[in-house]
Symmetry: C2
Subunit: 272 residues, 2 copies
């Protein structure tokens, strides 16, 4: 059997550090791939910005990765996936994977019937885009989806207020509609939110299943590597290159929190 | 007596909406001036970004205002004032007023002797720059200055969590060093913070005087208009033009909160 391979890197991008929760899962799952991660830390966050601006930034960021000869692109940012993916796919021929489709797929695997209630939380722009309910409707039009913007979760994670009484108060107040009237499945529709998973799980209760799109993206990438793009040779050693658009120090510091101790040595700063 | 006038506008800029606390004071104080406000809402916030990036953005933003033929520039953002003002002054001939010098001047007016303790709170980048202690030292080298970064205050204000128990918890924890060991004067070194003034005042206690740089900037502009640039003719009606780098809707919504009901009608979006 003649198995073909492709040693070119896979590009993964985010507005900043949130996409590292996705990268962590990819590092764990694909020991032979070469990843290039680009965090747009000069213009972070995307979560309250318009479709027009997010589209423009998404294409600039993707173009940088395309110039690095990537075989595939992963938008590891829900806001970029919700607002920028259409424009990006029209702009380039490189296969692009977002985080919304995989997250919705995983939510669908966890519901028992269309009578189950699905909740989605995300940034203001992701929720306003309606991308989650629209994507879920392509799987099951009868599904009832309730969406909530939780704009303070990202700064809380970025500043390390992970398990603080103030964080619990904010999570409680933001998720009140899902506490009073529980959903069966709750999609964490922002790559920062998995860091708050323990707090959210405690507040929301054990009856609601939490969907973390990072795991779902790894599953989707496995499918992509078997069907659309070719995997790296199995004797290749995994490699990750990091790029940021603002100075690297703060990124390095935060990356430790997101990658659970994975060593982030060489982070290069680039202008887009 | 032959009084000369200059009808050209005064440019005022900020990373987003924070500078509106300064503009509010200018609107109140200068009934004949024409102001052009530019909020860099596509790249907001500046507060955790590097000097290199903030310098670059500050110059781009100022260049836009200079093309609008302004007679003076006001950096109504502490982070831009702390990190970008040196580069901006080297870049252009237009007189530039920052918020740090006026805030320090006002703090100096409020202390009784060099034994008084001065506190400064601001964004991560403003505090890391050391701009406040350095400027205060030019007034009084013996002064003891204690600085604290409060990075969550900006998102709390932007999301309207002004008087919430979670906000009080975060303010309490951030300002703990100034509660345990009080300062005589506390400089609110970020243009967002005046919105939290009532909460901060309640937590910090009545013995500490709070310095809001917005009022100080209005005083400094009055000096500038009498000594460096010329005021508008006294029969001119005040006018404010608003520009933003991302779509205007969110800005309009937030502007109401900052300007206490001043009508923000025409907001134009521009690419820098």
């Amino acid at each position: 059997m003649n198995i073909k391979h492709d040693s070119r890197p896979i590009g993964i991008f985010d507005s900043g550090v949130g996409g590292l929760t996705v990268l962590k899962e990819l590092i764990r799952t694909f020991p032979n791939e070469h990843f290039i991660y680009l965090g747009d830390t000069a213009r972070v966050p995307y979560g309250a910005k318009s479709a027009r601006t997010v589209e423009r930034y998404t294409i600039q960021v993707a173009d940088f990765l395309i110039r690095h000869n990537v075989k595939g692109l992963i938008a590891a940012c829900n806001t970029a996936s919700a607002l920028g993916l259409g424009a990006l796919r029209a702009h380039c021929d490189t296969p692009v994977l977002g985080v919304i489709q995989p997250g919705c797929q995983q939510a669908m695997n966890r519901i028992r019937s269309h009578n189950d209630q699905v909740g989605v939380i995300g940034t203001t722009s992701t929720i306003a885009s309606g991308a989650y309910p629209q994507t879920l409707a392509t799987f099951e039009p009868r599904l009832k989806v309730r969406s909530l913007a939780c704009p303070l979760f990202v700064p809380l994670v970025d500043e390390g207020w992970i398990d603080h009484p103030a964080t619990r108060l904010i999570v409680e107040e933001n998720l009140a509609p899902f506490i009073e009237n529980p959903v069966d499945v709750l999609i964490l529709g922002c790559t920062h939110y998995p860091v708050l998973k323990p707090v959210i799980a405690k507040i929301i209760g054990s009856k609601t299943k939490l969907i973390d799109s990072a795991e779902a993206v790894a599953d989707s990438l496995a499918v992509l590597l078997s069907q659309v793009i070719l995997p790296a040779p199995s004797d290749t050693r995994q490699k990750v290159d990091f790029y940021v658009t603002d100075v690297a120090d703060r990124f390095k510091h935060l990356a430790g929190r997101f990658l659970d101790g994975y060593r982030v040595d060489n982070v290069e700063m680039v202008d887009l």
